[in-house]
């Protein structure tokens, strides 16, 4: 009995000590051994990739302690035949191993995007360090590395600024929307849907934007702007949607949460609406063997700004405005559908997938020849636009100014 107790005790000590020795320290990573990568940029390079990592300087972003005026982030760049080799190669210049667990944005150069990005993305979807909730963007008209170099005010870490400004405008501004890694992979592998990604543009002076001076001025000389949507065929970029087409895309894809838009008043001037809620439902059907997509849009909005003389106390006026806004929404969606069907001929709107969901057998017939069937798809709009209130004022003083 005593022997048995001793054996159990020894076993317990053995288990406890091995738990301490093995699980804790074998794979340990101390915080001050890690270079925390917040943003990643991947560009094309002869025979491989140029990968840039935006790494936080912890002393500079710490709340306590005076910042020394150094840049809050630093950038490591390396080129390699593959993405992973390039990232590991960064340790040639970086004193710390790059840790990918906190990536907020991944920026892809436009040149790379035009050649295809699937191969470049495998690492970040396969590795166990990065989570798949970071946003993907395409650097429009520049390299991804240049985008990541710009220092930004308000948010000390530029990658965070991109993440949050995309988040913010996704909530309140229809032209932009967010795509995470998982979204993109799902778009790539979904039947009858071509991928779309957000674009990011650099406005202003690149060299000035890279220096700390950029954030010391009231109006920084270089900005990062989230603008336009990149359309892909398979994993290759084929073109960009402009702002209007991007709005149409987001309405059609039910990505709009809140936004603002205007129509013209009967006798000049503009009236603006603030969309509070929007819901788009799509359903595919067949009419005489031809694919038809029914788009049902339900929008609830307020009158937000009146820059003309209209009678807002008249219910007939409200009905007329609702009609006008509905027409405007339809026009926006139509330009997008037109761009997708005829200009780019890629199914960014997922019409093929809508048909697959409604009529899987018919889809199998069209699948091989979808590029040629796509322009034949008819889109029917059913828009219900509800103006509920006129904010805090009824008729505007704009039409009643006196001499």
């Amino acid at each position: 009995m005593v022997m048995k107790r001793i054996v159990i005790l020894l076993l317990a000590i053995c288990a406890a000590s091995s738990a301490l020795l093995l699980s804790g320290c074998w794979n340990r990573r101390e915080l001050n051994d890690l270079g925390i990568m917040m943003g990643t940029a991947i560009d094309k390079e002869a025979g491989g990739y140029r990968v840039s990592a935006q790494v936080v300087d912890p002393a500079e972003v710490a709340v306590k302690g005076a910042a020394s005026g150094r840049s809050p982030v630093t950038m490591y760049t390396a080129t390699g035949p593959t993405v992973f080799e390039a990232i590991r190669k960064m340790t040639e210049t970086s004193p710390r191993k790059i840790y990918a667990g906190h990536i907020r944005v991944l920026i892809l150069g436009e040149a790379l995007a035009r050649e295809g990005i699937a191969q470049a993305l495998d690492l970040l979807s396969r590795d166990s360090e990065p989570r798949t909730d970071f946003y993907l963007m395409v650097a429009r008209g520049t390299t991804a590395q240049n985008v990541l170099k710009i220092l930004t005010p308000l948010e000390k870490i530029p990658a965070n600024k991109l993440f949050f400004s995309l988040n913010a405008s996704n909530e309140v501004w229809a032209p932009t929307t967010t795509f995470t890694m998982d979204d993109f992979v799902n778009q790539l592998v979904t039947e009858g849907e071509n991928p779309v990604l957000t674009g990011v543009q650099l406005v202003g002076n690149q060299r000035q934007g890279e220096s700390n001076r950029n954030v010391q001025e009231v109006e920084p000389s270089a900005h990062l702007v989230v603008r336009g949507l990149a359309l892909f065929r398979r994993d290759k970029l084929v073109g960009w949607l402009n702002e209007e087409e991007s709005i149409g895309y987001n309405i059609l894809m039910n990505h709009v949460k809140s936004t603002v838009g205007h129509v013209a008043c009967p006798d000049g001037g503009k009236v603006v609406t603030e969309v509070l809620r929007n819901r788009t439902k799509r359903k595919a059907r067949l009419a005489n063997g031809r694919p038809v997509i029914d788009v049902h849009v339900t929008t609830v909005a307020d009158v937000a700004e009146v820059e003309c003389k209209i009678d807002l106390n008249n219910p007939a006026m409200i009905r007329q405005l609702e009609r006008q806004f509905a027409q405007e929404a339809q026009r926006l969606m139509d330009t997008t559908v037109d761009a997708v069907q005829h200009r780019f001929r890629v199914d960014a709107l997922g019409f093929g997938h809508a048909i697959y969901m409604a009529h899987p057998r018919v889809w199998k017939k069209w699948r091989g020849d979808w590029q040629n069937v796509l322009p034949l798809v008819q889109v029917r709009y059913h828009i219900h636009f509800h103006l509920r209130r006129t904010a805090t004022v009824n008729n505007s003083f704009v039409g009643q100014t006196k001499e």
């Binding site: 076993l11 053995c14 288990a15 091995s18 093995l22 699980s23 166990s128 697959y356």
Partner: protein, 367 residues
């Protein structure tokens, strides 16, 4: 043995643990790999097939509630032939213990500690197994009873916290690939959770006879089955069929998706602990069954002394059973289901047939 016997509550907890066991980490990808967006329909079918298999296990118990499967095999097939089948069954139990160990090792090495050799993880896991069986089955069962509410809490959290991330379109079109694919998916899906409950055929003598034992066992297996259905369902709804099928551990990827107001997020490692609990109970039930089976087959009075030697065997087997994860998963999808079906369904059915032909009831003393 004069040990205290397991209560119905403990049996229920252990059944649910053993059923969810390793299925929670591997089942979604194997099912979605076959029936894609209809994986949840396959799981619905499983809720019909699975409990039917449990009925078979209860039928074995009805033959003689105080005999374990080894005794029944000898009674049915004779001393030598029955012993040979029993030996094969012991190998099945030991191999399953090793497989559970290996699954835990691979999960940790893939997702959490990539640079830690799995042998270190295995060693820790097996030490706990040895410790557990040395304490005896009643202690294991009480541990199950204690940890069960936590497990329920974590599983509920996994499902409820993911509801905001659901996209209903991910499961459409429904049943587009036809019924055969759905059925194929459900055959794979029935094996890991339900067939491997055969371990209870070794434990029946240790369970306190109760009037509602059959009903409770069926109910517990049904609850476990519903949990597995919900996990697969929500995995397809949140990750989509492609990511569910192509993630090595979709449930872990699923837990990464939890984000409530950018406040409650990054909880996947916490949830992984609950799967370690279910893996532990499946592993320890198989380990205990292996030990008591060896003692029974070779007529030993005491099985606990075998714990450490058998643990070294399991430790070696867990490492040697597959050279890499790809091999392990390949066997798991293409061969293991039939291996399970042989031991969980084919042999018990043959045994019932043999006993019916011989027309005699096995007595408790039969060796």
């Amino acid at each position: 043995m004069s040990e205290e016997k397991l209560t119905m509550k403990q049996l229920g907890a252990l059944t649910i643990f053993a059923l969810i066991g390793d299925s929670i980490i591997i089942l979604p990808s194997s099912v979605a790999g076959i029936s894609r967006q209809d994986a949840w329909l396959s799981m619905l079918l499983v809720l019909l097939f699975g409990p039917a298999g449990c009925w078979l296990m209860l039928r074995l118990r009805r033959l003689n509630p105080s005999a374990d499967l080894i005794q029944l095999l000898r009674a049915g097939f004779g001393r030598w032939a029955g012993g040979a089948v029993g030996l094969a069954f012991l190998y099945f139990l030991v191999l399953n213990t090793a497989a559970v160990t290996r699954e835990l090792g691979d999960l940790l090495a893939t997702q959490i500690m990539p640079e830690t050799p799995i042998r270190a993880t295995h060693l820790l896991f097996i030490l706990v197994l040895v410790w557990g069986v040395r304490c005896g089955l009643p202690t294991i069962a009480r541990a199950g009873e204690v940890l069960f509410p936590w497990f329920v809490l974590f599983m509920t959290a996994l499902i409820v916290l993911l509801i905001p991330r659901i996209e209903v379109d991910r499961i459409r079109p429904i049943a587009a690939e036809g019924f055969p694919t759905i059925l194929h998916g459900s055959i794979v899906a029935v094996v890991y959770p339900f067939a491997e409950l055969i371990v209870f055929a070794m434990l029946w003598p240790a369970i306190r006879p109760a009037k509602k034992l059959a009903r409770d066992f069926m109910l517990a297996s049904l609850i476990g089955g519903i949990v597995m259905f919900l996990v697969v369902f929500i995995s397809v709804l949140v990750l989509g069929p492609y990511l569910t099928a192509h993630q090595v551990y979709p449930t872990y990827a699923l837990a990464k998706k939890i984000s409530i107001g950018h406040f409650l997020e990054r909880v996947e490692a916490l949830l992984a602990i609950s799967w370690m609990i279910s893996l532990f109970f499946k592993g320890i039930l198989y380990f205990y069954a292996s030990l008591s089976g060896i003692a029974r087959l070779f007529g030993l009075r005491e099985s606990r002394a075998l714990a450490t030697p058998l643990a070294t065997v399991v430790y070696g087997l867990a490492f040697a059973m597959a050279p890499n994860l790809v091999y392990f998963n390949d066997v798991g999808i293409h061969f293991w289901p039939y291996w399970d079906i042989t031991f969980a369904y084919a042999i018990p059915l043959a045994l019932l047939a043999a006993l019916a032909i011989r027309g005699k009831k096995p007595s408790p003393a039969a060796r």
